[in-house]
Symmetry: C2
């Protein structure tokens, strides 16, 4: 059996590398996981990773994309009928364990187009749910409120929750509080529309 011949199909090897990288990134963080760690965990030589992924950032982006799409699939299955706010809160709650990795994306944003794309996918997911929520309450173009601003603040809270600090309050709590405050404000003085 030749050591240098492809033993397994491309997709499977890609999957192995992705699985190894995911595990290592979660365990040690992005910066402390070396390409040598990933290659040896997947049972290949250092250089071989570059046959499947162009760079460490490429494999990182792929890991993050896979995480988010899995989470979205789970939400679609388990929370099919739920309102946007509970879906959002549930998703954020599920993602708590990958906070450090989301933060690592921020480090890499300036250096990698692929990481930027993966990161935008996260933000678009949140923006979509916030928009849905606002529309459901008929606030998407209410006079007293700037829906764009609400979106941006929600995204900022999410991003801010991913920064490690002493308090370490989970994102889903803060997003819930924020959205409830905004909704209460709208339902108050300005009165409810439609």
């Amino acid at each position: 059996m030749p050591r240098n011949r492809q033993q397994i199909p491309r997709e499977e090897r890609t999957g192995d590398l992705l699985a190894a990288a995911t595990e290592l990134f979660l365990a040690k963080g992005y910066a402390k996981t070396t390409m040598a760690d990933i290659s040896s965990a997947a049972g290949v030589a250092r250089g071989n990773v570059y046959w499947y992924f162009d760079s460490k950032d490429h494999i990182f982006a792929a890991v993050m994309n896979r995480m988010l799409s899995r989470e979205i699939r789970i939400l679609n299955e388990e929370q099919a009928g739920a309102d946007p706010l509970s879906r959002l809160v549930r998703g954020l709650s599920d993602m708590r364990y990958s906070r450090p990795l989301h933060q690592a994306m921020h480090d890499r944003l300036p250096h990698s187009e692929e990481v930027r794309e993966a990161h935008n996918t996260f933000l678009n997911w949140i923006v979509g749910l916030v928009d849905e929520l606002m529309a459901e309450r008929g606030l998407d173009n209410a006079p007293g409120i700037d829906a764009t601003l609400v979106r941006d603040v929600a995204v900022a809270v999410f991003e801010g929750a991913n920064v490690p600090n002493d308090q370490n309050r989970p994102a889903h709590e803060m997003i819930r509080f924020l959205m409830e405050s905004v909704l209460a404000r709208c339902a108050g003085p300005q009165g409810r529309k439609r």
Copy 2:
């Protein structure tokens, strides 16, 4: 004139290094500024920086501490009588240009105690102003509201605003919106206390 003898007092050289580092960090970012860049900008050899600062993170923390304390001094002078919310908004507005550096602190938090301390100083500054604001409105221990949660969300918005994204909405706008929403919510259904 001996090339190897101390020409200038320690404090002045430290100041030169700090000034050079500040300029370079602002211009090129933390990651792309090398220790060689800093040393040559200050006119010393590579290794000499380590006589004044233990590491790149130490010099970075010193740079950030100096920035914040200068900003606080300016605010105290120019906004002496202003209410906490406008002081906070003004400070955040002034700090817009150093966003990328604040974000770089996040990268270094796991690796450096000094950066953690510098970062905490930023957060404490914000928390102090938020607390002051809540106390001024008599909401620091109102029944319907969790002041700790308000603090954490405000901090999260600040942190989130420091992450680069396409929208790039300034932190002070978002903080103002957040605090106004929270205050409106409290002044609404629960009614104003005291």
